[in-house]
Symmetry: C2
Subunit: 680 residues, 2 copies
């Protein structure tokens, strides 16, 4: 009987004639064993580890010489590049007798990419672009055929690739002839086939065997910031991350002001398109430089973004998104040449994939959050909030998922806040206020010390204390409320009302001094009445959106809350709940998923299966339009107060025995002030 | 029983309930009845003619009221646009009782396009691009979907088009939203699907019902000239034709000098690519202006060209074509965005189709000749010669077809001829020389008169007599030979040798004065010894190519000869045979096919079936490489003399009782002259 070959971890097994290369056996059994060179002993991707001795589980005994001896190719490879102890090249080692062969993770094509430890969810590598080494027939003038046609024949014969409708753009075709001759009729080609593509496409070509890696960019294109992860398409690892401000900010800070700009200025949409594409090119060059790779190795880009960014990226006029019925030009996922998007800094034939939009107000970024967080698979009712200039909200479980977006404005990102700034070193990110003394303590980004700790001044000497970021303002406002510096309507009490000199008059209202650095030339950082109003508007919008989805689902509670987004990831769940940003829920059921949209983009970059999956899911998500829903306005108005009796607030109030102040008649109250003037 | 409906000319028949619109019945029976608006009474493409009375052949009697009465839509159409007597709109007229309905040619989608009366060959319209009118669902924000997705649904429902993988480039997508709104949710779309495409593609979109026509450009891209036919994609008619010089001439007159330029000058190939693409853009604009259409109505371009032009058009370095084994970068047909070829003057999403190349020296132009002339279907052995700077030669019949190309040089196009010029008004195109008096008479392009006819001076006053074109020089040389002004080796005799003062000394050789216009400031047009040598080289190359194919086929005769190409179409078969350009063959079996390559391009433009067909045929054509074939050189040298006993020459010589001069020892002979000098 032929020797029995058993592969682990797959457990696949079969009998093969003695002398069969391990790679051949693996291929015939459909075992996931990588190879770029097709078994020529060049690429070393097919490394395996043979077992030896007794394998009672498999019922075999593996002899010492179950595989052929180390041959010349393996010896040379070991000498030149080093082969781990016990490893063999699967294309060289031949089966002699019964054997158990382990395929280590790094030799698997569809290797597991651990995405996040917390959720214990894995993504299998299934990228759209892969490398293939092929040896091509030399031209024969007595049987003339084109170089491309002979390359196709080689790909079909050596890799069983269906090449009848294989495509190659002209810039790639122009590389083919010199590559074949320089590589002595052997080339490495990068082939791309998207999950919905009907054909393979040659993305790039190099002479001989290419010792390189291919990369993709996962891009989270936000209204305010653009974040990119440079991802290795071989193993899914992130080689570098970088971010830049979205230069479209100069045309309008929030989405609707950009839509207005496009509406009021002929060619304004094209201006914004050019601006964002230039920023993307700069970002591409920067991130490649940071990782020390050639930007031409970047062969794919995946985009997640809200619908307005989506249209402006694609060069589509966003005006329809500014008015009911908020019709998208296209909602389905898009797969296209990156050059069509003006992305000139990466490979000339790079491909771009844009995730599908859910609705005119719920974009591809929300689809990416769904791809990352999978509400459609949740056993309990989960509320997922992606906090940004616009908040995307998903609510649901495995039976049904709803989505909406809510115009929170840029306050959560530190904009429209008097001392607001981006989350960067020097920004106040954590705040606590003593309810008895009304004295604050805080932390700034870049130091782990509280402001009251010894050594804080030294630790922050370099960065300074420059402002307050989104998570810092949330905590400051919530803490002010807990400490009795704010009443339920959001008014800041005067020094007399609150008993602290930190409450200072500012026009007809008051502000609370968090930190005064003016003595040594730094700014004075205060929370003003205007800041409170901005946060109130933002949190009411967020809360109203969540409530609207809960109404639609006919529920008044959620089992758990997931906060995502650059800001959502850093927010304190307790403070968010005290402010009334999110519905009441046990605090330990509020978690952060980090930048879920960015994670979703990375998943889509690594896995065609995930792309196909999210396209199906998006079609099934039920969209709720907040903009024209009267109940949204009702919820919005009702949510303006701080708080509406959230559990942590009630608990904290009990602990610190808080007064329930009402500053509406006080000298410093804003609306009260106006009332008095009218009377006088 | 339901009424019987019989369509002519197809003969298709079926029974339909009374009240069924004729268009519906036609569709269900698969009758070829055009409609762009889908039966909405807008496009008027579905006009039909109902019969009346007895139809014994079909066994039916058609009542006067077999179709419903003229309805409002038809009345309005007739009032506004006029409906031919007896015609009905197929979408409006409903079946009442048994009826025979004729579909006139102009209402057929796949209408017959008569190509050329002589060959009685028809091409059926089957263009890759067609117009469809659709009514699209308005957006509903409670069931959000993109405008593109709703358009797809409409196309699928109203036209049964498979839209799952339908593509739209971004510039088209950008037009969609305004078009839908301007057209009140109705649009006309141009859909493209090539014969090898796996999906439909939206090429363009217009609001409402578009009253327009789509055009394609059939482009014969020659080394010396670029000719284009603007073709109506609805009915195959040529709306305009235009040509320009290929600006690459400044980099080298023939193919090999252009390859050398690319080889010697880094970036030289890109320079030539830019030059030809700019010329194509100018030509596109000009031809659109000439036809009075918007260049954006041009949605397709088909290219036929030799391999070097092919590579330079595509932006591929042609150096491999300059050396054995003459490997093409790609030989298969190409279908791509016209923008990839830098064709910016036509529709932004126009498609380009490049016919397949046969071999490194036998290009897409030769494939186009095969598409037009169909040697693979010939009952007898046909030799097809496409005469240009390079001659493409096809030899074969329905059993086997061979192809080669021969480097004839530009002499046949009037270049490298002392008084040579392009075939344009003022050029001498016909020549006769009286064997007795040695006096010439000639015709110039632009006039039907011979130079000896009364009124000739007046008729040519405007154009003047400016030079001699390719067909003119052929006739001049042949006539000189017949008249005894040339000997068999090609030497021009002196005045003393020939007895005419028109034979004048020129350096050490002689020239024959065809026309002397110097008295009134016009040029003196002579045939010089250098001209004779250039023509001898060109015709020897052509003949040697044909002989090589005959050797390969093991035959020493051909049944018929077809001359094609701008020059080939105008050449006199008799003179060509006297010169020994083509193998001996009965004169009445030598025909001209006009510009067969251009015709092939037009056929490919009108018919996807033809594209698929020629791709198959090209794969089966056997290629013979002349450049490295010793027998080619042998044939070339042997063919240098004029003539090698061709039938018409022998006949003419008998008639005019010609002497058989030998000027090799005469004072004016060139090699003889050199010999004398050496001796002296």
């Amino acid at each position: 009987m032929d020797p029995l070959v058993i592969f682990t971890p797959s457990g696949k097994r079969g009998r093969f004639p003695a002398g069969t290369p391990v790679l051949t056996a693996a291929r015939q059994l459909g075992v996931d064993l990588d190879s770029v060179c097709g078994g020529r002993g060049i690429c070393s991707k097919c490394q395996i580890t043979p077992g030896s001795g007794e394998f009672p589980k498999h019922g075999v005994t593996v002899a010492a010489q179950a595989l052929s001896k180390f041959n010349n190719v393996e010896q040379r490879y070991d000498r030149v590049r080093g082969l781990k102890k016990g490893r063999r090249l699967g294309c060289q080692a031949r089966v002699q007798s019964d054997v158990v062969i382990d395929v280590p993770p790094e030799s698997q094509v569809h290797k597991q990419v651990v995405r996040k430890a917390a959720a214990e969810r894995d993504i299998k590598m299934d990228p759209a672009t892969r490398l293939f080494y092929v040896e091509v027939q030399e031209p024969d003038m007595h049987d003339p055929s084109g170089d491309l046609e002979r390359l196709k024949t080689a790909l079909a014969e050596q890799w069983q690739i269906e090449t009848r409708s294989l495509r190659a753009d002209l810039p790639v075709l122009a590389k083919l002839q010199p590559a074949l001759r320089k590589g002595k009729w052997a080339v490495t080609v990068a082939l791309h086939r998207g999950h919905a593509d009907l054909h393979e496409r040659i993305l790039d070509i190099w002479p001989g065997y290419l010792e390189t890696r291919l990369y993709g960019l996962a891009i989270d294109l936000g209204s305010t910031t653009i974040a990119a992860h440079l991802t290795d398409l071989g193993n899914g690892s992130v080689a570098a991350s970088a971010g830049v401000m979205n230069p479209q900010i100069r045309f309008g800070e929030d989405l609707m002001s950009r839509v207005s700009y496009a509406m009021m200025n002929p060619g304004g949409d094209a201006e914004m398109t050019t601006a964002v594409r230039e920023a993307l090119n700069g970002l591409t060059a920067d991130i490649a430089a940071e990782a020390g790779i050639d930007a031409a190795q970047i062969v794919e880009a995946v985009f997640v973004c809200n619908p307005v960014m989506h249209h402006l990226l694609l060069g589509l006029d966003p005006v329809e998104l500014g008015q009911a019925p908020f019709a998208l030009a296209t909602s389905d996922a898009l797969s296209l040449n990156a050059r069509q998007l003006g992305l000139n800094a990466m490979s000339a034939s790079a491909r771009a994939y844009v995730l599908p939009c859910i609705a005119g107000h719920v974009g591809a970024d929300c689809a990416a959050v769904a791809l990352s967080e999978e509400p459609q698979k949740s056993q309990d009712l989960v509320l997922i909030v992606d906090v940004g200039t616009n908040a995307e909200i998903l609510l649901g479980d495995k039976t049904r998922v709803l989505a909406c977006s809510s115009p929170t404005g840029p306050a959560f990102e530190g904009a429209q806040i008097s001392a607001g700034q981006r989350a960067a070193p020097g920004a106040i990110e954590r705040v606590e206020i003593d309810p008895a003394t009304k004295e604050p303590r805080f932390k700034v980004i870049g130091s782990d010390l509280w402001s009251c700790d010894p050594g804080f001044a030294e630790a922050t000497a370099v960065t300074g204390i420059t402002g307050i970021c989104g998570s810092g303002i949330i905590e400051a406002v919530a803490e002010m409320r807990i400490a009795g510096l704010l009443d339920a309507s959001g008014r800041i009490g005067s020094a007399k009302d609150t008993g602290t000199a930190r409450a200072v008059p500012q026009g007809r209202t008051h502000a609370y001094i968090l930190h005064d650095g003016t003595a040594n030339g730094s700014p004075r950082i205060a929370v003003t009445q205007g800041d409170i109003r901005a946060i109130q508007l933002a949190k009411s919008a967020l809360y109203a959106g969540a409530r609207l989805l809960m109404d639609e689902l006919g529920t008044d509670h959620v089992d758990r809350v997931v906060l995502t987004g650059a800001f959502g990831a850093n927010i304190s769940p307790k403070h968010a709940m005290i402010l009334g940003m999110i519905p009441d829920c046990p605090l330990d059921k509020v978690t952060s998923a980090g930048n879920a949209a960015g994670t979703g983009a990375r998943i889509a970059l690594c896995s065609r299966t995930a792309r196909a999956g999210i396209e199906r899911v998006v079609n099934e998500i039920h969209k709720v339009e907040t903009a024209i829903e009267p109940r949204f306005q009702e919820h919005f108005i009702a949510a303006n107060a701080i708080p509406h009796a959230t559990a942590p607030f009630k608990e904290l109030r009990k602990v610190v025995d808080l007064p329930s102040p009402d500053f509406s008649t006080g000298a410093g109250a804003d609306s009260g002030g106006r009332r008095r003037r009218r009377r006088g």
